[in-house]
């Protein structure tokens, strides 16, 4: 069964996770429809990356239920999870490029292990690298790339297999505004082409709000707010509004820079 049969692509219900007695997530419930774009925002070290890894089946929850592309991740055994992961693309926060493989081999890796024919792999890798602006860098090693280039290779690897669900962990962290804009354009174009579902975790509130159709704010291990991206900056919840706008609340800076400055023109909102 696939998510395209009408059920949600991602469904979390009461998900909890703790590490060494430290609670990271508690009672997290979220639903992402097929083809949807969910943005997850929240303070640093708030469990956003852990949430993505739970959705990817890389970690198991301590409590709650997770259904991804029609599979119950809590009940699934490792072989089922391994097969499911082939239908999911993931961009890791720190790129996670294989440092012993060239750029082209990194991008080709998911296809190679999905049994795709060699000439088809070559064609798709070349097309992906062109799309992320890295044509001509095929033989370079990850150590020779800048942070932005590594990020783009990571995006190419996450999307090359035309996965049904793509998870992006901080796709634009540390990148300049122009590159950030280009990367979100790329994600949008990819999604339009493949009809995939996207979940984006980002600290760049303005950029992710411009990309996603729904935003969820994770705060203190719980979902504090879920709503249309357009309503994020005017949310009723003071904590959410302050975080989104980068304003200080109770004397603590919840975001380091002003979102207003980076906020796109009204016409640019989806």
């Amino acid at each position: 069964m696939t998510a395209r049969d009408g059920q949600a692509a991602v469904e979390l219900e009461g998900v909890g996770k703790a590490f060494g007695g430290r609670r990271v997530l508690a009672g997290v419930s979220l639903t992402v429809p097929p083809g949807g774009r969910l943005g997850i925002i929240g303070p640093a070290a708030g469990g956003k990356s852990v949430l993505l890894k739970l959705i990817a089946g890389l970690q198991r929850p301590d409590a709650g239920a997770i259904r991804v592309l029609g599979h119950d991740l809590v009940a699934a055994r490792e072989p089922e999870l391994a097969a499911l992961r082939k239908r999911i693309g993931m961009l890791f926060q720190n790129y996670a490029l294989f440092d012993f493989l060239s750029v082209a081999d990194n991008v080709a890796f998911p296809l190679l292990h999905a049994g795709v024919a060699a000439d088809e792999i070559d064609a798709r890798v070349a097309a992906r690298l062109r799309a992320v602006g890295l044509a001509g860098s095929e033989s370079k090693m990850p150590a020779e790339l800048s942070g932005g280039m590594k990020k783009r290779v990571g995006i190419a690897r996450a999307t090359v297999a035309r996965a049904e669900l793509v998870l992006y962990d901080e796709p634009t962290a540390g990148l300049d505004p122009v590159t950030t804009s280009k990367i979100y354009d790329l994600l949008r174009a990819d999604q339009a082409e493949t009809g995939s579902t996207a979940v984006v975790v980002s600290s760049d509130v303005a950029a992710v709000a411009a990309f996603a159709d729904t935003i969820a704010m994770l705060h203190d291990g719980r979902i504090r707010w879920v709503g249309a991206a357009a309503g994020l900056f005017d949310a009723d919840d003071l904590v959410v509004r302050s975080f989104a706008r980068g304003e200080e609340r109770d004397g603590a800076a919840v975001l380091s820079r002003s979102v207003e400055a980076a906020r796109p023109a009204p016409g640019a909102w989806p």
């Binding site: 391994a82 993931m90 926060q93 720190n94 440092d99 998911p110 292990h113």
Partner: protein
């Protein structure tokens, strides 16, 4: 209430220990099954086993040669000193040294050296991949990290530990012979005497070498896969790999020696 905290800490450590033992068992079984079946089914990195054989074998040649050479010299020198103090037993030193070298000293000391160099290398490499999420990236492509990373190192290590053991024994024997000749005037024809080495000794020695070669990458791979955090976690994994691999060598030495004694008895 106060007494519960230490109890909780002890309980947590005990559960962590059980969890680690089960994980080690899973890595060991996964590696052996992978080496026999699953590694050969999926796509593999071309030349990976040869690359690992080079890293484990060729890159350890000098290290093993120097260490085993000096150990051979010291052992022969000390043995000759002792044998000449009571009665002149220098004629027996070479034959007994060869027996000891084949049965225990050669395989065990070579493996101890490899546990430090190779065990640390494997744990650092896999541990770095773990903390930089490359292991998660492998899993996202449906690849089993044990199959992809541990199995080729396991196969290379089994082969190269046997080869290096034979090489190390030859170096130690030669160095011991030179020490005997120059320091105690033992005729090389008398020293290089294999009459005390039985086929059972060779079997036991080579079985130990192969078992050590199998254990080192399994223990080191397990430690690397459990690395947490950042560079500090990789350092801890590397240390654990060296200690664990050395400990595994000692346990295997004891176990195989005991099995040998049961099979061949006092004649061994």
């Amino acid at each position: 209430m106060i007494a519960r905290r230490p109890l909780t800490a002890i309980g947590r450590r005990a559960l962590d220990g059980v969890d680690a033992a089960l994980e080690l068992g899973r890595v060991a079984v996964g590696t052996i099954v992978g080496a026999l079946i699953s590694y050969w089914r999926g796509p593999r990195r071309r030349g990976e086993i040869a690359r690992q054989m080079y890293f484990i074998g060729n890159r350890s040649l000098l290290f093993v040669a120097v260490t085993l050479g000096f150990i051979g010299m010291v052992m022969v020198y000390q043995t000759c000193l002792l044998t000449t103090q009571v009665v002149d037993g220098r004629g027996q030193v070479g034959a007994q040294f060869a027996r000891l070298l084949v049965l225990d000293v050669g395989p065990s000391l070579t493996a101890m050296m490899l546990a430090t160099r190779v065990g640390a290398g494997i744990a650092a490499e896999i541990g770095s991949m773990k903390v930089t999420e490359q292991i998660d990236a492998l899993r996202m492509s449906g690849v089993t990290p044990v199959d992809y990373l541990v199995v080729p190192r396991f196969l290379a290590s089994v082969i190269m530990t046997v080869v290096l053991t034979m090489f190390g024994m030859a170096v130690a024997w030669g160095a011991g012979g030179l020490t005997g000749y120059y320091s105690f005037q033992i005729n090389p024809r008398t020293f290089f005497d294999l009459s005390m080495v039985a086929p059972a000794h060779v079997w036991l020695g080579m079985t130990k070498a192969a078992a050590y070669g199998a254990a080192i990458p399994i223990v080191a791979g397990f430690c690397g896969l459990r690395a947490k955090g950042s560079s500090e976690g990789v350092g801890a994994a590397t240390t654990a790999a060296v200690i664990g691999s050395s400990f595994a060598v000692l346990i295997i030495d004891f176990t195989i020696s005991a099995i040998g004694l049961i099979i061949w008895g006092a004649g061994l």
